[in-house]
């Protein structure tokens, strides 16, 4: 959580001076996962953090420097905070006092989720905006690309990058399948926010130069420069950027979300593009399942700049790592891949690594997956 703390400290340093007149809640307004569900987010390459703000007042009512997440188990992240805690800026107010929770993993994937707080019984229990689980209470919400995270689809010279940005998805307690609607009969939805959320748009595309190897600060401030470029109807845009002069810096491209006419207070989804030490494209969301004498693999990419292809590596406790088959060529733009390996070829290995091979000959491994 150290990186998250640093990021949130920066967020708070920005937010606090502008918020001295806004009192925190007295004495307690919990916002937490209280009913057994969680955010399913990959923490294998860094911590997951979150930030929350009142939708109608993002800069004056927000979670400031407060660390609002905790890890329950591998890949299970919970919101666990109280709007009365230290580091919080302001107290949600109004009818309803609707808030947005922005979750981000270290790769810029995440979740946008909004709670009204309108039900006195449920309060800001986060499960109110989770999809209802007919067999339980609430299904987990996964981190994904629908938080406004750009996808690199190509380059235009050395100082521009072509991206595609999908319309953001906001989970709300007004969604027809949400716990708030299904279980509580709509007590959480007094503002028809599902319609507002459906109209959410990309507020702006921003670029920022920040240190490589660390999750960037995502508060929407002077560190991020708003691009004049607006995505076309298909979500495509060509974003110019300045290559960082310092070898330890990288360029990041991120977006904000505008909801109900108000642009949010943070960069939601982001990617790291080529810079001094830009991170190579790594296989994401790797899955493996054994079936009918074969292991079926799937993974995806969100950035294939500089990527030549992939190699499959079998990992065995006794035999170490063994390459399987030949290089799987990269498609050149974000793509979802599948592959199959015969169990017999694995020679007892019980896990596989998807290894990215870059055009300069270097490699980077995704986390091993078991099957």
């Amino acid at each position: 959580m150290k990186k998250a703390l640093v990021v949130l400290a920066i967020l708070g340093a920005i937010a606090l001076p502008a918020s001295e007149a806004y009192a925190a809640c007295v004495p307690s307004t919990p916002m937490f996962h209280g009913y057994g569900s969680y955010f399913a987010c990959d923490e294998s390459r860094g911590p997951v953090s979150a930030f929350s703000y009142q939708v109608s007042a993002p800069t004056t009512v927000n979670t400031g420097t407060e660390v609002i997440t905790r890890t329950q188990d591998v890949g299970q992240v919970l919101i666990s905070t109280d709007w009365a805690n230290g580091g919080i800026v302001g107290c949600p107010a109004g009818t309803p006092a609707r808030v947005m929770i922005v979750v981000q993993d270290s790769q810029g994937k995440g979740i946008l989720l909004s709670l009204s707080g309108a039900s006195a019984d449920l309060g800001y229990a986060v499960e109110g905006a989770h999809p209802n689980d007919p067999a339980g209470i609430a299904l987990p919400v996964p981190c994904g690309d629908l938080n406004g995270r750009p996808k690199v689809i190509g380059t235009a010279g050395t100082s521009s990058v072509n991206v595609n940005i999908q319309k953001p998805k906001i989970y709300t307690d007004c969604d027809a399948d949400s716990v708030g609607m299904v279980v509580l009969g709509g007590a959480t939805c007094i503002d028809a926010f599902d319609g507002v959320a459906a109209g959410a748009t990309i507020g702006g595309i921003y670029t920022s130069t920040q240190p490589c190897g660390a999750r960037p600060s995502t508060v929407r401030n002077a560190q991020w420069t708003k691009s004049a470029v607006v995505p076309d109807a298909a979500g495509n845009a060509t974003i110019p950027f300045t290559k960082p002069s310092a070898g330890t810096d990288c360029t990041f491209i991120g977006t904000t979300t505008t909801v109900g006419g108000v642009e949010g207070g943070s960069i939601n989804g982001f990617i790291q593009v080529q810079g001094g030490l830009a991170a190579p494209p790594t296989a994401e969301g790797v899955r493996a399942a054994a079936d009918s004498g074969k292991v079926r693999l799937s993974w995806s990419t969100s950035n294939e700049v500089g990527l030549a292809g992939f190699r499959l590596i079998a990992v065995s406790k006794t035999k170490g790592q063994t390459e399987l088959g030949s290089l799987i060529s990269a498609k050149g733009s974000p793509f979802s891949y599948t592959a199959e390996v015969r169990l017999g070829d694995l020679k007892g290995a019980r896990s596989i690594i998807i290894r990215s091979v870059l055009t300069d000959g270097t490699t980077v491994d995704a986390a091993p997956v078991n099957f």
Binding site: P27, N85, V183
Partner: protein
């Protein structure tokens, strides 16, 4: 449960009558007791947040066991319990839900801390009164850190009748400005906070049986540093 003989003075009996009348009904069995604690159900704002004192000796074990033994609501939407600086001064507010995270969150799935109160947020469907049982631990010392709000479980046999008496017993002796403060949350409806500063009888109020209080010792600039106050609650 510890059993002791008791011979209260007339003044103490009167005091006990006052706080019993104000807060509910308690049945004393020497030093062990059973108390009918009324709960206000949720409404707007803080209404339905019941600041609840827990006996220093009690049979509850963990938070979830407290939920189940007292019959709090354990289905969605469940009764929630909030604590403040419960296990450490830096903990701030933490909340669990009966039947859910009160059982699974490691912070809550461990022994209750003697002397710390809890806020029971009684959602619709929660009983409007619960039976709390236990006894006092006369040897239990508590520690209040300057500037850190302490959610105090007032002993059910406290000899302090008013907040001013409680200030004196604890040793909240800060002078000048700021001074120590004691806050009560009337769960309503409508909910209302009632706060007094120690040494200011004009704003003092009577303790209510079964209710917890927030006590904050002031942290004046002089002398420098942060003082801690150790005290053992007086009781009869």
């Amino acid at each position: 449960m510890r059993i002791k003989s008791m011979r209260p003075t007339v003044a103490v009996v009167i005091a006990a009558v006052i706080i019993v009348a104000a807060g509910g009904a308690a049945v004393a069995s020497n030093m062990g007791f059973k108390m009918n604690k009324p709960l206000v159900l949720v409404g707007t704002g803080q209404t339905g947040n019941n600041w609840t004192a827990i006996p220093f000796h009690n049979p509850y074990g963990t938070f979830n066991q407290f939920c189940t033994q007292t019959g709090l609501k354990t289905t969605l939407p469940a009764t929630s319990i909030t604590v403040r600086n419960y296990r450490a001064d830096t903990d701030s507010f933490k909340t669990c839900t009966c039947g859910f995270t009160c059982n699974t969150d490691p912070y809550f799935n461990q022994a209750l801390v003697p002397g710390k109160m809890m806020q029971i947020r009684a959602v619709a469907g929660t009983p409007t009164s619960i039976i709390i049982v236990g006894s006092h631990n006369s040897g239990q010392s508590l520690t209040i850190t300057e500037g850190i709000p302490f959610w105090y479980s007032v002993p059910y046999h406290s000899t302090a009748v008013t907040t001013d008496q409680l200030c004196t017993q604890i040793g909240l002796t800060s002078s000048g400005i700021p001074k120590a403060s004691i806050t009560r949350l009337n769960p309503g409806p409508p909910a209302a906070f009632q706060t007094t500063t120690c040494g200011n009888p004009a704003t003092a109020f009577n303790l209510v049986l079964g209710e917890g209080l927030q006590i904050t010792e002031a942290n004046p600039a002089s002398p420098p540093g942060i003082r801690v106050i150790n005290f053992t609650p007086a009781h009869y």
